[in-house]
Amino acid sequence: MMILGLFSVGLSLVFFVLHSLLGGTELSASEAFYEISFSLFLHLLLPLISALIGTGIIANEVEERTLIYLLTRPQPKWKIILAKTLAGYITAGLILLIALLATYSVMSALAGDQGWMTLFSDLSRICGVLLLGLLVYLPLFGVLGAFLKKPVLAGLLFTFGWENLVAYIPGKIRLFTVVHYLHDLFPHFRKVRGNSETAFFLNIFITDQDLSTPISISILVLLAALFTGLLLSVLYLREYRLEQN
């Protein structure tokens, strides 16, 4: 997982350095940071890391059959899952934040003073959006991992299939995605003005802000509560017949 974070940060920086050296002009450094945080972090790393950790919360213990040890401890089942979810949340959150902050620091240091400090409040907001996204995606994938045999497949189909597909469909159907509320909270998304291929896609993804910030946050918190509640009750709802050999 750490490799995933390092790989993306490393590659982003390599691209950025090469871009600066080769004199790419279409994209300023700050615009590049916005695009990286939006496309790479929000759209790729957040769902991938959530899927990796979330689907494993229960499924790992079931596959490795170590659930036996957990279920015979004098702890309520919900507490065991909550502890595992929290551990997963902290791990995933740290990886995402460290990777984002590393990208920000190195890019701002390399680009020199280009008004990076003004981006600082946006940076905190991006961190908040990622953590909020994690709060929803992690238990969602946890539930998928608890009930499905192929949770990763379902998760990838949901995030990269459904959520991306719906972005192109006009109307209110996009309200049935998680990423829509995260888009609403993403800071100054209109700042993405480059001529890059992603700028084209971003303009399709992001329409006018549908909902106010408090409403988006409330909906995300509600979704997080719903998925977390479902995840915590999994061991009460479902009985695992672990393989014997």
């Binding site: 790989f7 590659l11 695009e35 990286i36 899927a51 689907t55 192929k150 001529n195 992603t198």
Partner: protein, 282 residues
Amino acid sequence: MPIYERSYLSWEGQLLDKPRTWWIIGRTGVRLAWKKSVALLLILAAVPFIFRAGQIYLSSRMGNTSFLAELAEGIQIDAGFFMSFMKDQTFLLLLILIVCGAGLIANDRKFKALPIYFSKPVGFWDYLIGKFLVIVCYGGVITVIPAILLFIGQILLTGTPGYFSRYYYVPFSILGLGAATLVTLGGIMLVLSALSRGTRSAAIIFFALVYIPEMLRRIFSGMNDWGWISIRANILQLGAILFGLRRPYPFPGCLAFLSLAVVTAACLAVLRHQIRPTEVVK
């Protein structure tokens, strides 16, 4: 008093000099993969095929410029049509590779099956080819085979020899692009499967390895010379050359080929190192 051991009887038949163990490994893998929701993905993958077949039908009946054909994207049924079909199948191909490929070696390592394989007359190449056969089988079913079928359909529907003589190279291009895609992506999937004991982490890292460079290439689209860093861009570049189309990226075609060859060679080297009958735990 003599006591005789009676529990073992020798088999008097003739053993094959070179048993086709790779075929047995591959066939078993294909059967096992079939049980893992592959059918659902194959059904999903059939949707674009049916759509494209509809386009071919409409264009053959109405001509490329007719209203209906325009409705069906106003598309020319040329080499680019087949290339575009294969390009569109990439997402589903990744999912198929994840479902079929993530556990191919990981499960053998997890359940300590490698010593059993290698205690039989199975060599590294038998094992690898057997596993790769699974990837080729399901990957081919959603890329190469439907593309060839579409080409045959187009020839049968147009019924003119001119089309075939103009695009005779397309089946070879389909095969070439299919081979390049499956060898590279399949190789990466097998490597991740060999490096990891969990199928989920192999699946997600595979997805990340393919998409992160591609996403960064898109972000920094002003520096497309460096697009060869993305596997997907390399495959598309190579595909454009094979199909005789305009290259989508400014970097040289040989660089795309070289890049894919290096990835494949690196995969082979890692697989050679990882696929061993015994494993030392420190």
